[in-house]
């Protein structure tokens, strides 16, 4: 099965027809050029810089659409197109081309990145209108999009790593965009450092691939996977998972995601929906053949996904900061995707479908949250909101569409794709499949609760506003992207999932769907009904707690689960206790060793030389006659020695 799959997966054609596809690098070059112009152009570009950035992102999106059209014009077997750009590194046997791979998987990601990315660009014009560094902000957004496109369009792991690091850099710059706030600077540093931990995993796995296969290009590596030992593949799989955990904020490298909310809200939308966190899922799905050769690594992937799914949902249930609650939700939803990606070919298409719809509704939710914050003087505490649905009707409607989609109301986007994952989990069979399946069903209930909590606290109930709050609807540049995303949140799932359109499109890369599309089964399977029932329970409970009853402005103490969830399940405490403090002690010990042992030796040598010379100096008396005596004595010794040698 695997080898058969490998055979059709790795039929890669090269683009020699001079069409849209052979200029696929333009997709990356345009936003990169935009970033370069804005960063190098300086203040002169202040007036029109943001429009240039939007134009670059939109042009890139148009190019991605044209590439998709061209791909659809080919037979499914010929839809993997390799585009050679130039030779990057050639040292001895180490030979890396900067070449791009345009295939159904990468073009799906490219469309999501450029499409949702462009909408976020447009939204930012309004959101950042009063920020004097708006030009720099747009430059970083363009850089982010370009780096993410390098990541998904790469044809080998080295180029993928280039994009991977680019994404890390851009996220650092954007999370710390308001660097005058110490909390933002610290959050940016934290995101950067935790991502470095994951990057080491990816880097070492690439090195392992090179030593095992002698190449890091996708198709030769995937073609040779069967011949390699299972131990090596397991190691590579686990290291790739470590990398994916860093970028996708999966346990145990999840801690940066909630702090990353310090960045401007469009950045959160970009990181959570279109770029960054999707990179880990992409890596796992792209490296599918490696994981299929390493069942242990696959199992670990599903466990990480399931654990993050629950942890993220629990954190989301307790946070009062609207952005942090949404961030917990992102962790949880990415957990769904990771879990599905760990199931193997049965789950890849489900993971990607959920990723795409999640990109839409999560971007919509974040932009909605940004719109609310914009109206409420940057207040983020949901206990200070309430009753906003009449004041901000557009935001309410678009946020509501995203909300209904994410909790899985039937026939909206989230339902189609989440059902796909639940079904794939149960279909994977065995006890593991049952456990994973019930985790995803439980997750659906938790999702309904925490999202309803956000919804009711923000838009329903009493007005608990601060004295000086005068909420108003956001400008058109902000509402239009929200409306587009809301339409996607409602309709996209049906477009992608009915008849498994997306799954069939992705089939050349991830394998064909395992059974026919069956809407009746999707609606009436016991698991689907259980998920629906839990959803209703979650919404109902949230209604009782946050809409029917009074919500105190200061958070009540809560039981121990609430306290733990507010503390992000002690993730930061664990990191600090296990890594930060021992690390600080290690550096302190190293400094002490350097000060006392290393410097002690060096200073000791200097001190003894000095003492010796102090004593030797006394031999120079300054009396010519004593020198004469010394010379005579020396001459006598030389003479005596010469005589002695000659006579002996």
């Amino acid at each position: 099965m695997t080898s058969m799959l490998a055979a059709d997966v790795h039929a890669v054609t090269t683009a020699a027809d001079g069409g849209v596809l052979s200029y696929a690098w333009l997709m990356i070059a345009l936003p990169l050029l935009g970033a370069a112009v804005l960063l190098l152009g300086g203040r002169r570009t202040n007036a029109w810089g943001h429009w240039l950035a939007i134009a670059a992102a939109l042009a890139s999106f148009v190019w991605a659409v044209l590439s998709l059209v061209q791909l659809l014009g080919r037979t499914p077997e010929e839809r993997s197109v390799s585009v050679h750009v130039y030779q990057w590194i050639k040292v001895g046997g180490f030979d890396i081309d900067l070449s791009l791979l345009v295939d159904p998987l990468s073009i799906t990601f490219a469309l999501l990145i450029t499409g949702v990315g462009s909408l976020i660009h447009i939204y930012s014009v309004g959101y950042m209108a009063h920020d004097e560094n708006r030009r720099r902000f747009f430059a970083y957004l363009n850089l982010f999009v370009a780096a993410m496109l390098v990541l998904v369009l790469a044809d080998n792991y080295a180029v993928l790593f280039l994009g991977w690091e680019g994404v890390g850099l851009a996220s650092y710059l954007l999370i710390g965009f308001w660097q005058h706030k110490p909390s933002a600077a610290v959050a940016a540093k934290k995101a950067f450092l935790i991502n470095r931990v994951g990057d080491i995993g990816l880097l070492v796995s690439i090195m392992l691939l090179f030593t095992t296969f002698g190449t890091v290009a996708f198709s030769p590596v995937f073609g040779a996977v069967d011949g390699a030992g299972q131990g090596v593949m397991t190691a590579v799989g686990l290291l790739l998972l470590l990398g994916a955990c860093g970028k996708s904020a999966q346990l145990p490298l999840q801690a940066w995601l909630l702090d990353a909310m310090e960045g401007p809200t469009p950045v959160s939308a970009l990181i959570h929906a279109a770029t960054m966190v999707t990179a880990g899922v992409y890596l796992i799905v792209r490296s599918g053949p490696i994981f299929e050769a390493a069942p242990t690594a696959q199992l670990v992937v599903t466990i990480v996904g399931a654990a993050t799914l629950l942890a993220g949902a629990i954190i989301g249930c307790a946070k009062d900061d609207i952005k942090k609650a949404l961030a917990g939700s992102t962790m949880s939803q990415i957990g769904y995707m990771t879990l599905a990606a760990g199931l193997g070919p049965i789950g890849y298409a489900a993971a990607i479908a959920h990723l795409v719809t999640h990109g839409f509704f999560k971007a919509g939710l974040f932009l909605g949250a940004g719109s609310v914050m914009h109206a409420m003087n940057d207040e983020v505490d949901m206990r200070r909101y309430g009753g906003l649905r009449t004041v901000m009707p557009v935001t309410f409607a678009t946020f509501g569409a995203g909300y209904l989609a994410i909790i899985g109301v039937p026939f909206l986007s989230g339902w189609w794709t989440k059902e796909g994952i639940i079904q794939a989990a149960f279909d994977s069979g065995g006890l593991t499949g049952q456990i994973l399946g019930w985790v995803t069903v439980l997750g659906a209930g938790l999702t309904a609760f925490y999202m309803s909590r956000i919804m009711f606290l923000t838009f329903f109930g009493e007005k608990r506003w601060a004295e000086d709050a005068h909420p108003h609807e956001s400008p058109t540049t902000m509402t239009v992207p929200m409306i587009v995303l809301a339409v996607g949140s409602v309709a996209l799932g049906a477009v992608l999932v009915v008849n498994y359109t997306l799954a069939h499109f992705l089939a050349p890369v991830v394998g064909a769907p395992h059974h026919e599309f069956d809407l009746v089964h999707m609606l009436t399977s016991p698991y689907s009904l259980a998920a629906l029932a839990l959803m209703v329970v979650g919404v109902g409970y949230a209604w009782l707690r946050y809409a029917r009853s009074e919500v105190p402005v200061t958070a009540p103490k809560g039981n121990f689960i609430t306290v733990a969830a507010r503390e992000e399940l002690y993730g930061n405490a664990i990191n600090e206790g296990l890594f930060m403090r021992p690390g600080q002690q290690l550096t302190r010990a190293a400094v002490a060793f350097d000060d006392h042992a290393v410097d002690g030796v060096v200073n000791g040598v200097a001190r003894s030389v000095r003492a010796a010379s102090e004593n030797l100096r006394l031999m120079q008396t300054g009396f010519a006659r004593s020198y004469a005596l010394t010379m005579l004595f020396g001459a006598a010794v030389v003479l005596a020695t010469t005589l002695g040698v000659n006579l002996a």
Binding site: Q620, G622, F623, R625, L629
Partner: protein, 99 residues
């Protein structure tokens, strides 16, 4: 006459010169003692030349005389300068380099 006597005489004169250099303070006397040592060497060279029937010893004695003459010129000039600046011909007073 036994050339060995000249060698003994040279040794005695050299010793007198060396002791004079070491014990006397007056620069002029020290200088004269140095000349004594050089001349003792010359005497020994000539005596050895005579003993071995070679000419090299006598040639070297001439060289030594030339060097000694040059040394006298330079040395006396230095002593004169020191005497002019310090009103003393004692070599123990010339210790500027020590401080």
């Amino acid at each position: 006459m036994d050339p060995m006597n000249y060698i003994v005489l040279a040794a005695i004169v050299f010793t007198i010169g060396a002791v004079g250099v070491l014990v006397r303070r007056n620069a002029i006397i020290v200088f004269m003692c140095v000349e004594l040592m050089l001349n003792a060497c010359n005497l020994a060279f000539v005596a050895f030349s005579r003993m071995h029937g070679g000419i090299e010893g006598q040639v070297i004695a001439f060289f030594v005389m030339v060097v000694a003459a040059a040394e006298v010129v330079v040395g006396l000039a230095i002593i004169m300068q020191i005497f002019r600046t310090r009103r003393s011909a004692s070599i123990d007073d010339a210790n500027l380099l020590k401080n």
